[in-house]
């Protein structure tokens, strides 16, 4: 650790790499929290499960989401996150801020793209 006398000047590459790690943390923590919340919700007994995919567990639903739409969405979010982190790391030298803001931009950017795509239909 630094002795605190002088501020640590990390290179742009180091800030960028650390920012990506912080952003990756957000991409793990937030879906995990959603999954934990979702798994803890009691479901009504006696549901009609005759239709396909009508009574999936939260983990199965996440798996299905990933197969059909999750991978392109995640890829888009990752591209936006990396681009924003690369730009922001030149200005802000704190990876916690750059990683958090870039992860947020990635999610908001993809949500905006999806909303715009649905608006064109």
């Amino acid at each position: 650790m630094n002795d605190g006398g002088t501020p640590r000047r990390a290179s742009h590459g180091a800030v960028f790499r650390s920012s990506l790690l912080v952003a990756l943390g957000w991409y793990v923590v937030v879906p995990a929290a959603v999954l934990v919340a979702w798994s803890g919700l009691p479901v009504a007994p006696g549901r009609d499960c005759s239709a396909m995919f009508s009574c999936l567990s939260p983990v199965e639903q996440v798996g299905l989401f990933m197969i059909f739409v999750g991978l392109p969405v995640l890829l888009g979010a990752a591209v936006v996150t990396v681009a924003v982190a690369a730009l922001l790391a030149r200005v802000v030298r704190w990876p916690v801020v750059t990683g958090t803001v870039s992860a947020l931009c990635g999610v908001v950017g993809v949500a905006a793209l999806v909303a715009a795509g649905q608006g064109f239909r």
Binding site: M1, N2, D3, G4, G5, P7, R8, V22, G25, W26, V29, V30, A32, A33, V34, V36, A37, W38, G40, L41, P42, V43, A44, P45, W94, V96, V97
Partner: protein, 132 residues
């Protein structure tokens, strides 16, 4: 190592607990009895209270630890965490203001049928029971 654990515990732990608590609060789960509804509401409250308490305790404790070790690197991190702490409280207060039910202490509705009235008890000043 401890300072890093406290900082990243705050950075990811508090939002984790908040997301779980807020999603549980916003959901309308199937709760067959009032006891189940109370237990569900109490668990949700525990997530939210833990998030709000840790949001205060972790940055302050981290700042005290970093200052006692004269570690400028982590002092800067925890000063930033104090700003983040205020931001989280602001977000929670906005979320609390947007809902009609209280954020903490709310018991969700249950599916337990209301008990049927099978017995008439006469009250002084009220209406009498049929048959005296």
């Amino acid at each position: 190592m401890t300072r890093a654990a406290v900082f990243f515990g705050w950075l990811y732990g508090v939002p984790f607990l908040l997301v779980v608590g807020l999603l549980r609060r916003m959901s309308s789960p199937h709760l067959p009895t009032s006891a189940a509804a109370e237990a569900f509401g109490a668990t949700t409250d525990r997530f939210l209270v833990a998030a709000l308490v840790l949001n205060l305790v972790l940055p302050v404790a981290g700042l005290v630890l970093a200052r006692s070790a004269r570690d400028g690197y982590w002092i800067r991190h925890f000063v930033g965490a104090l700003v983040g702490m205020v931001s989280i409280y602001l977000v929670v207060s906005i979320a609390a203001g947007a809902t009609t039910a209280p954020l903490i202490g709310d018991v969700p509705t249950d599916q337990e049928p209301a008990p049927r009235v099978t017995q008439c008890i006469p009250r002084s000043g009220g209406t009498g029971c049929p048959g005296g």
